[in-house]
């Protein structure tokens, strides 16, 4: 069994607004191993991105706060670190790729300069060594002619190339954990496939554990080893990717998988889940999916289901599952 890099235990993150406490992440637990890609799937506003930001402790201040739980990275709880210690963790042990490659690069610096920033911050190398590291980071992301490319400005590059540069920045210090927040959403389908293959390569060479945040089950199938399905701030089902697709247990997972368009069913109307997710300000007492669930029982509306292991680390929170 490979080493666990990240262990999240009962993480609670809330936003304190004028209207009250918004429980964006409400008690989630998962782990990411070395060389593993863990997918976090769910619809918009279910707390995926907030989970990612919590892991970096970069929640928008002062509203966002981690109110409970543990985040154990490489054996220590990063919630106990000081701000300064946290800065030395960011970029070095844990890194993140943001969604939009067009805006995550600073327009006034060359890409080499931007990749060098993280290296200089964390490794204290001589200038010529930094350049070597920059080139090796660009190589890692398979950017052609890295020696000349590092002198380019972001606007001189294509979208796919920029997304690779963003990847190179994230990987420049060889972090143990990489958070990828919908990194493929802004790319078109062919580039998307290339990018996923590229990241699988990167993972093989660097052993990085990846937390992959997405709403796209197609990408999950290609990229992830295990998946957590998130709904309204909680993980309702966790399993290996093949189990999720073959034997989904939670009604929400089933509904989500059914709403993926399929080539062979061209004529049918696309399945969709009725209704809206509950407001995170005013959560129902029972299961959060109860209002939209096709198999809802009375118990579902009253009590929150506990997480049950149905075998091999396949965790489900549903009263229907025995």
């Amino acid at each position: 069994m490979s080493k666990t890099i990240l262990q999240v235990e009962d993480l609670h993150t809330s936003f304190f607004t004028r209207a009250g406490e918004v429980k964006a992440v409400d008690g989630i637990s998962f782990h990411v191993d070395e060389r593993e890609t863990f997918g976090l799937v769910g619809e918009s506003a279910c707390g995926k991105t907030v989970t990612g930001l919590s892991l970096l402790r970069l929640l928008p201040e002062p509203a966002g706060r981690i109110v409970g739980g543990k985040i154990i990275l490489n054996g220590r709880n990063i919630l106990e670190l000081s701000k300064k210690e946290m800065r030395s963790v960011r970029g070095k042990e844990i890194s993140m790729i943001l969604q939009d490659p067009m805006t995550s690069l600073n327009p006034v610096y060359t890409v080499g300069n931007q990749i060098a920033e993280s290296i200089k911050l964390h490794q204290g190398l001589q200038d010529d060594k930094v350049t070597d590291e920059v080139i090796s980071a660009l190589r890692l992301l398979k950017i052609p002619a890295p020696e000349s490319r590092l002198r380019d400005y972001p606007f001189q590059m294509s979208g796919g190339m920029r997304q690779r540069v963003v990847g190179a920045i994230a990987m420049s210090c060889r972090p143990n954990l990489l958070i990828a927040d919908e990194p493929t959403t802004a790319l078109d389908a062919t580039i998307q496939a290339q990018y996923i293959a590229l990241f699988q390569d990167v993972q093989r060479t660097t052993n990085v554990g990846i937390l992959f945040i997405t709403h796209d089950f197609g990408v999950v199938a290609k990229m992830c080893h295990r998946v957590g399905v998130m709904y309204a701030g909680r993980i309702v089902e966790t399993a290996t990717t093949s189990k999720i697709f073959k034997d989904p247990r939670h009604p929400y997972t089933v509904a989500l998988i059914n709403s993926v368009p399929r080539l062979e069913e061209k004529d049918k109307r696309l399945f969709s889940i009725e209704g809206q997710p509950p407001s995170l300000l005013n959560l129902p007492p029972g299961c959060r999916f109860a209002a939209r669930c096709s198999q809802v029982m009375d118990k579902c509306r009253e009590q929150q289901p506990a997480e049950i292991d149905v075998g091999d680390g396949h965790l489900v929170s549903c009263w229907r599952v025995k």
Binding site: L58, R87, L98, N106, E117
Partner: protein
């Protein structure tokens, strides 16, 4: 496959003919020339700063009083003497020489005031925009007060309270002048703070200071440069107004504003005493504004690729 079609005569696109292009760019070329000339005037009025007090651009000493030559009209008018190209004032001092020396006061004061105000305003603006919350609120309320205070009144108050002089003018114009910079850059910093590349820098472990200096500042330089060009005119004008009111740089030192004031009583008999320094002020202020407009168009962030 090689192209076998008959080679067309190459028609190189050169755009408009040279004359038309020059005319289109006149609003840039003329202000540039004026600014250049004024700087040359200020620098080479005399070369005493190089240890050569006798090498000078100005035909006379600006403070040389020649009672015999009082109120002489410009050389191109009847009764003008060729040695006083733009005439003389009530004490027989050469107007041209005084304009040349006056440019030193105008330029150095505006350079000083702009450096001071731009620095203070930039630091406060970026800090407020990045920090947000209460710090932002506090800095911006102070800025609001500074903006709403009539600047000229404040400067007059100071000039009266302390004694009038070169440094008093610099101080008086700086004490409120930083506010527009702070206001502008705070907005810019606020916008950039929430951009993805700043988030990316945070993810890489950059400290707040590093983000302000390395990521926000280089992205607001454009706005800053435009603001600086536009305020050249305003500061020169403000200095002239203070000097005109007699609370600027004290006599006999020549400054454009005080020269206009000197000639005020003789407008009907010796208009040139006021008119020429007035024209100088007008030209420089206008040049500053034209250059600022041009820079603003050139550096428009919407034209830059993000």
């Amino acid at each position: 496959m090689p192209d076998t079609t008959e080679e067309k005569p190459k028609k190189k696109f050169t755009g408009l003919p040279l004359r038309a292009r020059v005319i289109r760019k006149l609003s840039l070329i003329i202000p540039l020339i004026i600014m250049f000339l004024v700087v040359i005037m200020a620098v080479f009025a005399d070369l005493s700063w190089l240890g050569l007090p006798n090498v000078r651009l100005s035909p006379h000493d600006p403070d040389d009083v020649v009672i015999r030559d009082r109120f002489l009209p410009p050389a191109f008018m009847d009764g003008g003497k060729s040695e006083y190209l733009l005439g003389t004032d009530k004490l027989g001092r050469d107007v041209l020489s005084r304009i040349i020396y006056g440019s030193r006061i105008s330029l150095s004061i505006s350079a000083l005031v702009i450096s001071i105000t731009a620095c203070i305003g930039t630091v406060l603006g970026i800090f407020a925009g990045y920090a947000g919350g209460r710090i932002d609120g506090f800095i911006m309320r102070v800025t609001d007060v500074a903006l709403s205070f009539p600047g000229l009144l404040m400067a007059m108050l100071l000039a009266v309270a302390i004694q009038p002089g070169y440094w008093t003018v610099v101080f008086a114009l700086s004490i409120l002048g930083w506010a527009p910079y702070a206001r502008l850059l705070r907005g810019e910093a606020l916008k950039i703070r929430d951009s993805d590349f700043v988030a990316q820098a945070r993810v890489c472990g950059a400290s707040p200071w590093r983000i302000m200096l390395r990521h926000i500042f280089p992205n607001v330089i454009n706005s800053l440069v435009v603001m600086i060009t536009l305020s050249v005119g305003m500061v020169i004008l403000a200095e002239a107004v203070l000097s005109f009111l007699g609370i600027g740089v004290p006599a006999p030192t020549a400054s454009w504003g005080s020269m206009v004031n000197d000639g005020r009583g003789y407008l009907d008999t010796a208009w040139w005493i006021s008119a020429f320094p007035g024209i100088a002020i007008g030209l420089v202020v206008m040049s500053g504004n034209f250059l600022g407009d041009w820079l603003r168009d050139k550096l428009d962030p919407r034209l830059r690729q993000l």
